[in-house]
């Protein structure tokens, strides 16, 4: 049951921690489980703080697997408009959102059709309305398109042709964001490590109880 899809792309996993876990594993003659002492070593290794790569953005030499360069850049920019940087965390491009979508487009024809067609539609729409493609249109024009696409009452009929694409784009950009190191850090997930005992900080208990109908 080996899994060939384990990454060998630009991602650099937390080598020390994972390697140590593997080294402990090689002591086993056959598939089994770690003995108590081995497990203790493994837990100590696991308990080291996880430090994923700062950014998952492909470097200057990155070549998309499926999308053409223009579509890729358009998608990357659209992703940063959907999830821009704020005071806490960077924009979607640092989460490798466009790279993630491009990769899956290279693996799934239905997905490729949604993004190829959708990005083409987006350019046609802005060309028709503003005289340029989406990427080179003015920031205010791009915002106007997104206001129609992601308005509070759902998409406007004016951009109905792009509605499937807009939904897919937002879902996958958001997915990519929170499954990246910057997203995990932003949301504040602190697990996927090892601890010898489980306990809940009193601060969190007090905060919630005070706000609950039960009171502190």
């Amino acid at each position: 049951m080996s899994d060939s899809s384990i990454t060998n792309n630009p991602v650099t996993p937390d080598v020390s921690r994972r390697d140590l876990f593997r080294i402990v594993g090689t002591g086993l003659l056959s598939a089994e489980f770690l003995t108590a002492q081995d497990a203790k070593d493994a837990h100590a290794a696991m308990a080291m703080p996880a430090t994923g790569p700062k950014s998952l953005k492909g470097g200057p030499t990155f070549v998309p697997k499926h999308l053409n360069q223009h579509h890729f850049k358009t998608l990357q920019h659209l992703g940063d408009l959907i999830m821009p940087a704020d005071a806490t965390s960077p924009a979607a491009s640092e989460a490798g959102a466009a790279e993630f979508i491009d990769f899956l487009c290279s693996r799934n024809d239905d997905l490729a059709a949604i993004f190829d067609g959708g990005l083409e539609w987006l350019d046609e729409y802005t060309k028709h309305k503003y005289g340029t493609d989406f990427l080179t249109s003015k920031p205010a024009e791009q915002t106007a398109v997104l206001d129609l696409a992601y308005g509070t009452r759902g998409g406007s009929p004016e951009v109905a042709g792009g509605s499937q694409f807009f939904t897919w784009a937002r879902n996958m950009v958001v997915d990519a964001y929170y499954t990246s190191p910057v997203g995990v850090k932003d949301i504040g997930y602190m697990g996927n490590t090892a601890m010898s005992t489980f306990h809940v900080p009193q601060e969190a208990v007090d905060y919630v109880l005070k706000r609950s109908p039960f009171g502190a």
Binding site: A39, L81, T88, R107, D175, G183, Y189, G191, V208
Partner: protein, 567 residues
Amino acid sequence: MFQVQRSPVVHDVVVVGSGAGGGTTVKVLTDLGINVTLLEAGPNLDPMKDFKEHIWPWEVNHRGSGANAESYFGKQQWGYWNAPNGYWDVPGEPYSIAPGNEFKWFRSRILGGRTNHYGRISLRFSDYDFKPQAFDGLGFDWPVTYDEMSPWYDKAEEFIGVTGTHEGIRSAPDGKFLPPVPPRVHEMLVQRAGKKLNIPVIPSRMAMLTRGINGRAACHYCGQCGRGCHTASAFTSSQAMIFPALKTGKLTIVTGAMARELIVNDEGLVSAVSYIDKATRTEKQIRCRAVVVAASACESARLLLNSKSTKFPNGVANGSGVVGRYLTDTVGYSLGGSVPALENMPRHNCDGIGGMHVYVPWWELDKKNKDFPRGYHIEIGGGLGMPQLGSFRGAAAGAGYGAAIKTAARQQYGTNVNFAGRGEMIPNENSYCEIDNTKVDQWGIPVLKFHWKWQQYEIKMVQHMHDTFTNMIEAMGGRVMQRPFDAAASISKGGEIIHEAGTVRMGDDPKKSALNKWSQAHEVKNLLVADAAPFNGNPDKNVTLTIVANAWRAAEHLADEMKKGNV
């Protein structure tokens, strides 16, 4: 037909299936010095390679969607991160469903079976669960009492390791427990809601080690038990029973071996197990002194029904005609709520053990005038879990686009609390499986045809679940997320909770049951069944702990019979 390869050696015991029942049988028999040959239809398991414990989503280029974006198109049968386990749809292994009926059959094809991924909720059946007819006139009494079963529950708990506390609640008998795990913040809210509504919320009983036992290390609280545990701190039959049994030198494992038929000799005993060696697509026969079938309730029934001979024209050990009948599953219904008190909670690691730290045992056992019999337990979900694909799509959709998405996601993270009811189904005449004589699988083995019907008992119970969960959510100041509600439409599909039982039931009367009180076939003394097929009912307590206890008991009985020369 190709020439059948028959083994010249007569093996002591052949065990079919390596899940909770098969694993227990292997452990008990090899410990007693008996040679065992284990047939598993799937491949071997290599936990170090196969378990995806501690991998971050970004370490996989598809981030968990599946290598071809399966999850985005509803084509992922089971989460990518889960331990290898099985599927609803197994390529080349179809099954039939009677017109107008619904049933989903989960098949596990891997060493360790469903124990590699199961929820590890470990609840004893209660006294009335073994004598339901005496209790309220419905269902079928077991040929075993709670007091007879209790010592075997002790052994099971002490070996696999189960958390818990002594509560003295009749519907949830106490056991030999490891220390419990403290509740998470949302679980403390549920406890307080329970107090207000007079519903008990007690520490959960789970097969994770809060203390190292039997050479297995204590839990490290990463919450990823479902992915498989490298330290086997979460129980699996593969790691805790089968691999250690290999060290005794008494165990031979044959993987990729799909059992086809039990061959019966002139004396009416099983003389060999016929199986398809998947790698070569050839039939092989392995001769044996005794066989223990533990292939999962429906697969075990299928094997018996497909073993037809002049002596047993309706399938081996099926003179009573009950094999395949009285199929049950757990009644399932879930409801989630969004709880504002949890918004923007100070962040902390709340992974804990995989699953709930507290649960609700059935609390209305003595209540008169209920409109459904028996009851259900409630499993609690929630917390600050590892973000996954899909975790924040809802928050984003509500926020539109731009900076508002992150604000909404931060606020909503960890505010969902989920209640899952797991209730008892009363066995009925309309829920069963039989051989579909018109269809075979890719191995040439006739397939099963399922018939399924919930009764009003179960549907009314789901209404009660919905009302209770709504009250719990609102008591926490939360908002119920799904409306409207219709009990008949919202009840789980048969098979969906993956707790099938009852298809080769035990009993004292050979006319009404296939097995005796030791799970040994009335008509074939060297044939035993050791999964949930022997169960006479399916109480609101997940089946695995009772499978282990009952298989343990059956295996010791078999060893005893062999020693006495009866088998």
